[in-house]
C-alpha cells in the first residue's frame, strides 16, 4: 500500500479549485516544433536593455539583500511620481507596496478585504486568476457577464442586480485580458458611484494601462470618490516587457495598504530587490513604451482585419494585446475550435470559456507576436475555417 493512500485529504478548497483552463493545451502544443502560438499572455519584446543594465550594475554593487516589506523608498517614490504624472492621483510612500507582480497584489487584496462568505462582483470574461483568488481567500465570486455587442464593457445595471447584502467588493480589470475592452470614464464613474452608495471596495487591476490605442486609459482611483475605497494594482510585466522579473505594486489608502503589508510580510517578506531596482529604471524612460505601443497598434489592426476576412467576427479591441473573435459561425465550441486548430493547423489560441461567463463562442488571440508569425497563423486559421465550412456544406448536402 502506498503512503499516499493513508494521508488525510488536502484542503477541500484547493481540491475543489479547477485548474486553469488556459494550460490545458500546453502539453499538446509543446510537442509541436512548428506551432505558432497566439496564446501567450506576455510581450514578445525582451526587457529594454537599459533596464537589464541597471539590474546588473546593482547586483555587482551588492544590492542583493532584503528590502523593507513595502519595497524600497526609491521604488515607492518612483511609482508615486509616475501615477501622479500620468493620471494625477497622489500616493504617498505609506500608500504603496511593492508586490510580486499583480498576481500577488490580487491575492493580497482579496485576503485583506474578505471574510468567509463575502461576495465579490466580477465582470467576465476576465483574467483566469480573479475568481480563484477570491475563492482562495474564502470569498464568493459573483459573475457579471459582458458581451461583444457592448465591446465587452460593463455597465452599472448588471452590477446593481448582482449586488447582495454580502457584497464586499467589485473586482475589475480594464483594459481587459482576454477581450481587449477598455472602459470610458463616464461608464466607470457610474460603477464608482454605485460602490460609494453601497459602501463597497473596488479592486482595479490596471496592468494593461499603457497599452491603449484609440482612447485614453481610465485610471479608477482618479475618478470622483474612488480613491478612498480603491486598491489599484499594476506592474511592469506588460508595458516594460518584464514578465519574468515578477514586479508590481498595490496602491491604496494607508490603512488598507498597512493591512496588506501585514499579510505580505509573513508570506513574501519583500519583492525581489533586483526587480525593484530594475523597475525604478524602467520608469525613467518612456521611449521604449511608446515604440512598443506603436508596434502593437499595427499588429492589432492587422490581426483584427485578418480575422474578420476569415469570417471570425472580431470587434476592434481598444487595449491590451488580445483580439477576442467570435467562432460561433463555425458551429464548434471554443474548446473544440482551439483543440482542433492546434492539432490540425498547429496554431495555439485560448478558448474563451477559460475566462469565465460570456467567453464561450470566442477565442483569445494574442498579437504579442511578430507580424510575420501573425500572418502565417491567420493563413492557417483561414485553412481551418474553410475546412469546417466545406465539411458542414457536405453534411447539409448529404442530409
Amino acid at each position: 500500500m502506498s503512503n499516499e493512500a493513508t494521508l488525510p485529504p488536502m484542503s477541500r478548497l484547493v481540491e475543489g479549485l479547477a485548474p486553469s483552463g488556459i494550460r490545458r493545451f500546453f502539453d499538446i502544443a509543446a510537442q509541436m516544433p512548428d506551432v505558432i502560438s497566439l496564446s501567450v499572455g506576455e510581450p514578445d519584446f525582451v526587457t529594454p536593455w537599459s533596464i537589464c543594465e541597471a539590474a546588473y550594475e546593482s547586483m555587482k554593487a551588492g544590492h542583493t539583500h532584503y528590502t523593507s516589506n513595502s519595497g524600497t523608498p526609491e521604488f515607492r517614490r518612483a511609482v508615486g511620481n509616475h501615477l501622479k504624472k500620468l493620471y494625477g492621483v497622489s500616493y504617498g510612500e505609506d500608500e504603496i507596496v511593492a508586490t510580486i507582480g499583480v498576481s500577488e497584489g490580487l491575492d493580497l487584496a482579496m485576503r485583506t478585504l474578505l471574510d468567509p462568505g463575502d461576495e465579490v462582483i466580477v465582470p467576465e470574461p476576465c483574467f483566469v486568476s480573479y475568481t480563484a483568488c477570491i475563492s482562495l481567500a474564502g470569498g464568493v465570486p459573483v459573475s457579471v457577464e459582458t458581451h461583444a455587442k457592448d465591446g465587452f464593457c460593463v455597465s452599472v445595471e448588471p452590477i446593481e442586480r448582482a449586488w447582495t447584502k454580502r457584497t464586499k467588493a467589485i473586482l475589475i480589470g480594464f483594459p481587459s485580458n482576454p477581450t481587449g475592452a477598455t472602459m470610458p470614464r463616464e461608464a466607470m464613474q457610474g460603477i464608482v458611484d454605485f460602490a460609494r452608495r453601497k459602501n463597497l471596495y473596488i479592486v482595479s487591476d490596471e496592468i494593461y494601462d499603457r497599452l491603449t490605442y484609440d482612447s485614453v486609459h481610465t485610471c479608477v482611483p482618479s475618478l470622483r470618490g474612488a480613491r478612498e475605497r480603491t486598491i489599484l494594482l499594476n506592474g511592469f510585466s506588460k508595458a516594460y516587457a518584464m514578465t519574468g522579473w515578477r514586479i508590481g505594486y498595490a496602491c491604496g489608502p494607508a490603512r488598507i495598504i498597512e493591512a496588506m503589508v501585514k499579510v505580505h510580510q509573513y508570506t513574501i517578506m519583500s519583492a525581489p530587490t533586483t526587480a525593484q531596482i530594475a523597475a525604478v529604471e524602467a520608469l525613467k524612460s518612456e521611449s521604449d513604451v511608446r515604440a512598443m505601443v506603436t508596434e502593437y497598434n499595427q499588429r492589432r489592426r492587422f490581426i483584427v482585419d485578418g480575422l474578420n476576412k476569415i469570417g471570425l467576427d472580431c470587434h476592434m479591441p481598444q487595449g491590451a494585446f488580445y483580439a477576442f473573435p467570435s467562432i460561433e459561425r463555425t458551429g464548434l465550441t471554443a474548446e473544440e475550435f482551439a483543440e482542433r486548430l492546434l492539432r490540425e493547423e498547429h496554431v495555439a489560441v485560448v478558448p474563451g470559456n477559460a475566462f469565465g461567463a460570456g467567453g464561450e463562442g470566442h477565442i483569445r488571440c494574442s498579437y504579442a507576436n511578430s507580424l510575420e508569425k501573425i500572418q502565417i497563423a491567420l493563413q492557417r486559421m483561414d485553412n481551418f475555417v474553410k475546412k469546417q465550412r466545406n465539411a458542414s456544406t457536405r453534411q447539409t448536402a448529404a442530409a
Binding site: 486553469s20 488556459i22 494550460r23 501567450v40 506576455e42 486568476s129 506603436t294 492587422f302 495555439a348 485560448v350
Partner: protein, 164 residues
C-alpha cells in the same frame, strides 16, 4: 478617425521595404490610396532614396573588405569641405562620405575585394586630391549589428507556448 503620422509609413518601410501598400494601409488604419499617394510623394521628394536589402555577405560566401578612412581636409574658399567631399563621393567603391566632428573632417566608408585595393585607393586616388592633408585607415573586422539587425544568431522565442 485620427490619421497616423506620415513617418509611421516610413518606419514600416525602413523595417521591411517589401511591405505592400495594402498591408501598410491595414497596419496604419489609412486607406490604400492614401498610402500609395504618401509613398509616391516620399519618393518624389527624395525622402525615400532607394529600397535595398541587408545581406550578410560573409554568410553568402562573398569576401569583401570594408574600410573606414578618416580624412583631414584643408577647407577651400567658397565651398568649404563640400568640394573635396563631392570628388570623393564620385568613386564607385566609396559607400558613404560623412562630414564628422573630432580629429578628422571626413569619414569615408569604402568596399573593396582585398586590403591591397584599399591601399591603392588611398595612395593613388585619395591622396592625390588637392586639399587632403592626411588619412587614417581602419578595417572592419566583424559585424555585430547593422541597421538595427543583430548579426549574432537569432535567439529563439523563450516564452511558454501558453500563458495566462
Amino acid at each position: 478617425m485620427k490619421h497616423a503620422e506620415p513617418d509611421e509609413i516610413l518606419a514600416i518601410l525602413a523595417r521591411d521595404a517589401r511591405t505592400t501598400p495594402d498591408t501598410i494601409a491595414t497596419l496604419t488604419g489609412r486607406s490604400v490610396d492614401d498610402v500609395r499617394a504618401a509613398i509616391a510623394d516620399f519618393e518624389r521628394r527624395g525622402i525615400i532614396k532607394r529600397y535595398k536589402t541587408i545581406i550578410d555577405w560573409e554568410k553568402a560566401g562573398v569576401e569583401r573588405v570594408f574600410a573606414f578612412i578618416d580624412v583631414k581636409v584643408m577647407p577651400a574658399r567658397d565651398v568649404g569641405f563640400d568640394g573635396v567631399a563631392d570628388r570623393i563621393s564620385r568613386f564607385p567603391e566609396v559607400h558613404s562620405v560623412w562630414l564628422i566632428s573630432g580629429g578628422s573632417d571626413l569619414r569615408i566608408i569604402m568596399e573593396a575585394s582585398d586590403v591591397r585595393e584599399v591601399g591603392r585607393f588611398v595612395a593613388e586616388k585619395l591622396s592625390t586630391i588637392g586639399g587632403i592633408t592626411g588619412t587614417d585607415t581602419h578595417f572592419l573586422l566583424k559585424r555585430y549589428k547593422e541597421d538595427q539587425i543583430p548579426y549574432m544568431e537569432a535567439e529563439d522565442d523563450r516564452r511558454l507556448v501558453v500563458a495566462p
